[in-house]
């Protein structure tokens, strides 16, 4: 299927409107907050005003007495802890003993309208005992007062080594060490999180939620509410933007469900924009140190990488985030010896988690500016040093990542040629600069959050005697186009049009599982499950058609709503007639398909983060225009190439690439999630700067199709990877323009001016704190690296 020629395809590979497009442009798409149910109540959550405090007492008696208030919940009503990862079950939907960040939920109200609910929050009296708060990585390590969690402020410390890196550094001709910092930032989806819950007298709970991960919400509701999962139905509504920000389990989802159970009435809760900033689970602030040895010709001999993650108040995805800061350095460069040490600290800030690129944009920034600096020292250009080290197709990295298709070199060639990078970078006019960087990302995490042997994606296809095709799958469209992937693949295999497909998605009662819209997994995994299901249906239809057309079933083609003999174009019957014949013969025609990624994790502890059935690759050149008087950096033009494997819908892939460039621009130049004694400095869309139409550059997008052997029709991911090279390319371009190194994201005008005024021409961290990492797990290297 991967190698199918483009001209043999009718739907796949075509830029077509996605199935949900008309609903979205007409205002008919129903987002969570658009749902209105009879007798519905409105809920609000009281949140901690303090970053770290013990809860002495919660008195809700005044609130309970208010007219219109139907229920008030406090910590004692929801005592069971939960968390997205099995190893981090450390959150309470409403805190019972302690609050760990400003915004931590303490109590909740359901009332007949939102104004009454708001007023009732004011009438809840909470007595707090303030505790000293921890606001930074340094403070967390110093551990001055009571730790944030009983086991201390060090959430997770890991260390892995593949080969003797000290020896690799000793044998190098040249070594360099860099320390850089990447400030936290947040997803800022346009839609605030919302959920609606309904509890019937039949004892069944239904929760509609703007979530990227309905399956995990399903699990958590079962655990916290002590209900069998079979009595809970979770329906994910179209997400008005996710970017990772709706992939955790959120207190408001559990609270709405509990309030519906207590009151017997439907309950809706919608977060305010300010609450969304505190709900967060976004980009971790990460301080990094990278030390690499090189031969004179630029080849890497060994690399040591350290990450310090500022995790916020809870675990969230943090263990995975920590490993991700060390996992993919090797996916672009053939590093023969590699050591990674990472530590995540608890701080009294909103918990961090996954944002587009999950844990990899920070180390990618570190690595790509580090390589540019080394290239300068070795007298190489930025492209040459990368070429010396490029990962090869069909290889295995030193940390056991299996690389299959790899269009990295083609991506580099494209952007370097199109931007005339090498010719222009040494001759840029004053204040203008060009920067370059490359990257790689997963096409889905190879291991599930809960390790098990079951499929990660399942699809059911059912055909109707009228010719309609129903496709059922747990996948949720968050704007990335997963509905289109499902519909286009089934339409392609069955030879029908997109309009003949009816989708039912993301409903735990009706649809088979998909683990969720995270880790760029949906196209690859759902796509493969959809192919499997559609091919089974096709086989049964082909047998019926073959009997009618007096031929063998493998002589048939399915195309344009017709099933016909490939060699005798006149001999065909309609798709609907084929279904009727098959149905008359054997009853309902339906089939399912599943996808389980191959077991790829290497033979060491911690190997579960990083493996993917395929990797995407990207390369970018960014042009900047810097004003040395104001420090302002503008980006007029970006060249980006992305190895997509195959574009199932090119216009949607371009949209993912352009959206990634946009988001990278915001992160690189303006966005930051920072706090003053636990209070967000910019908790509004006016103060939290994000790029508008006026900041958006011209973007030259090239898609490289490497046709992945295991991808659906050869496809790989597009949603996250293209963000990665843009941020370091901007930093490298600023250096090219002004000769200053801003080793700290975001690159604000203030930092540029500061660097221009300093003899070092640099702004960035001076070092990393002292921390005793565990002694590294000495992992065996794959056979191809032994002795290197």
């Amino acid at each position: 299927m991967a190698k199918t020629q483009a001209d043999e395809l009718a739907v796949v590979g075509k830029s077509l409107p996605k199935p949900d497009a008309m609903g979205k442009v007409s205002g008919q798409a129903r987002f969570a907050d658009d749902l209105m149910l009879p007798r519905m109540l409105f809920a609000r959550i009281l949140r901690s005003p303090l970053p770290h405090a013990r809860i002495r007492q919660v008195d809700a008696s005044r609130a309970r007495a208010m007219p219109g208030v139907q229920a008030v919940l406090t910590g004692e009503d929801l005592p069971i802890k939960y968390g997205i990862l099995p190893v981090s079950q450390d959150e309470e939907a409403l805190c019972s003993e302690k609050v760990r960040y400003v915004g931590d939920p303490v109590a909740a109200v359901a009332a007949t309208d939102e104004w009454i609910a708001d007023a009732a929050l004011e009438a809840i009296d909470v007595s707090f005992e303030a505790l000293p708060s921890v606001m930074s990585i340094d403070e967390a390590l110093a551990q001055p007062g009571e730790p944030i969690h009983p086991r201390g402020n060090v959430h997770k410390a890991v260390a892995l080594e593949f080969g003797d890196t000290e020896e690799g550094l000793r044998s190098a001709d040249h070594t360099r060490e860099d320390v850089v910092f990447f400030e936290g930032n947040t997803h800022l989806p346009m839609e605030q999180h919302a959920a609606v819950a309904q509890y019937g007298q039949d004892g069944k709970l239904t929760v509609w939620s703007s979530t990227q991960t309905p399956h995990y919400v399903h699990r958590a509701l079962g655990k916290v509410l002590e209900l069998p999962m079979s009595r809970i139905r979770v329906i994910a509504t179209p997400n008005g933007g996710g970017f990772g920000g709706k992939s955790d389990i959120f207190a408001h989802e559990i609270v709405a469900a509990k309030l519906a159970m207590v009151t017997g009435r439907p309950v809706k809760i919608t977060l305010t924009r300010e609450e969304v900033f505190y709900a967060h689970r976004g980009r971790h602030p990460v301080l990094m140190k990278v030390r690499t040895g090189f031969r004179r010709d630029g080849r890497i001999t060994a690399m040591q990488f350290q990450s310090f993650l500022d995790g916020g108040g809870y675990g969230s995805y943090g263990v995975a985030s920590t490993y991700y800061t060390g996992a993919l350095q090797t996916a672009t460069y053939a590093i023969p010896r590699y050591r990674f040490e990472g530590v995540r600290l608890f701080t009294n800030k909103p918990p961090c988690g996954p944002k587009r690129g999950h844990g990899t944009p920070q180390p990618r920034f570190a690595l790509e500016v580090h390589l540019d600096k080394v290239a300068d020292e070795l007298g190489l250009d930025p492209v040459a040093i990368r070429r010396r080290n490029l990962v090869q197709p069909n290889s295995q990295t030193v940390n056991w990542l299996r690389i299959t298709s790899c269009g990295l070199e083609a991506c580099m060639d494209r952007v370097v040629a199109d931007s005339r990078f090498l010719e222009r970078r040494t001759a840029m006019p004053s204040g203008r600069g060009l920067g370059f960087a490359v990257s790689s990302y997963l096409s889905g995490a190879g291991t599930a959050i809960y390790w098990n042997d079951m499929p990660h994606s399942e699809v059911q296809v059912k055909v109707d005697r009228g010719g309609g095709v129903s496709v059922l799958c747990g996948a949720i469209d968050i704007g990335q186009g997963s509905d289109h992937i499902l519909a286009a693949i089934v339409a392609e295999v069955l030879g029908v049009s997109l309009q003949d497909i009816q989708l039912t998605t993301a409903d735990t009662d009706l649809t088979p599982i998909d683990l969720g819209s995270y880790s760029s997994r949906v196209t690859f995994m759902v796509g493969n499950a959809a192919i499997a299901a559609a091919q089974r249906v096709r086989q049964r239809l082909a047998e019926a058609a073959a009997r009618m057309l007096h031929c063998e079933s493998d002589e048939l083609s399915f195309r344009g709503g017709q099933v016909g003999r490939r060699d005798h174009p006149g001999e065909a019957i309609s798709f609907a007639q084929t279904v009727q014949a098959a149905e008359a013969g054997e009853g309902l025609i339906s089939a399912s398909g599943s996808y389980t990624p191959p077991k790829l994790a290497g033979p060491y502890k911690g190997s579960g983060v990083g493996p993917s059935p395929a990797y995407s690759f990207s390369a970018a050149v960014v042009e900047v225009e810097c004003d040395p008087r104001t420090g302002e950096v503008r980006v007029p033009e970006v060249w980006i190439a992305h190895d997509i494997g195959r574009a199932i819908n090119p216009v949607l892939v371009e949209g993912q690439v352009e959206g990634s460039v946009y988001m990278a621009l915001g992160e690189a130049l303006m966005e930051e999630q920072t706090f003053r004694i636990g209070v967000h400095k910019f908790p509004s869309m006016l103060e939290y700067k994000s790029p508008t139409t006026l900041e958006m550059p011209v973007v030259h997008t090239s898609l490289v199709e490497s046709l992945d052997p295991e991808g659906p029709f050869g496809a790989k991911e597009a949603g996250q990877g293209p963000l990665l090279p843009v941020i370091p390319a901007i930093a490298n371009a600023v250096y090219n323009a002004l000769g200053v190194r801003i080793d700290e994201i975001p690159i604000t005008p203030e930092k540029v001016l500061r660097a221009l005024a300093q003899p070092s021409r640099r702004v960035g961290p001076k070092g990393v704190p002292r921390f005793a990492f565990p002694s590294p797990i000495q992992a065996a290297r794959p056979p191809e690296w032994e002795g290197k």
Partner: protein, 155 residues
């Protein structure tokens, strides 16, 4: 306390009895069932709640109903003619200019206001006209192209 208001929405006069402090955004969504108008901040910062008032872009989250008596309100639901979509709706769908779709109603209405006064706008004029509407998905480029395509089809 409630006040009687008479609003003209998508060509229809409607009489309502609403609290005077309820915003036009809330009235459209909750009282008139026009949930195509979205909210992103309810502070006038993101323009997700954009509607047209007398043909001009307008933030419904900042307006109270009495302000809009005697004015013509258009929401996204009022753009199609029957079941035939407006050309901007078609081009937004064709070019993938709606990803999550949450800013899309406001983006399309704002673009319509532009095309009504400037049928063949330059790229810079489009960027300027849409600068107040935030989108986190698209990077805006497909949106610019969709507006340009709709303008070119207009002849």
């Amino acid at each position: 306390m409630k006040v009687a208001v008479r609003l003209r929405v998508n060509g229809q006069d409607t009489e309502l009895l609403v609290p005077p402090y309820k915003t036009v955004l809330e009235i459209l969504r909750e009282d008139l069932g026009l949930t195509g108008t979205k909210h992103g901040c309810e502070l006038g910062e993101c323009s997700t709640c954009g509607i047209l008032v007398d043909g001009k872009p307008f933030l419904s989250c900042l307006a109270l109903p009495l302000d809009l008596e005697g004015h013509e309100i258009t929401t996204i639901e009022g753009l199609a003619e029957g079941s035939r979509p407006h050309p901007l709706q078609v081009t937004f769908a064709e070019l993938g200019a709606a990803q999550c779709g949450y800013c899309t109603p406001s983006m399309i209405l704002t673009a319509k206001a532009l095309l009504d006064t400037d049928p063949h706008p330059s790229r810079a004029a489009i960027q300027q006209a849409l600068a107040g509407v935030l989108c986190r998905c698209t990077g805006y480029l497909k949106i610019f192209e969709a507006v340009e395509l709709a303008a070119s089809r207009h002849g």
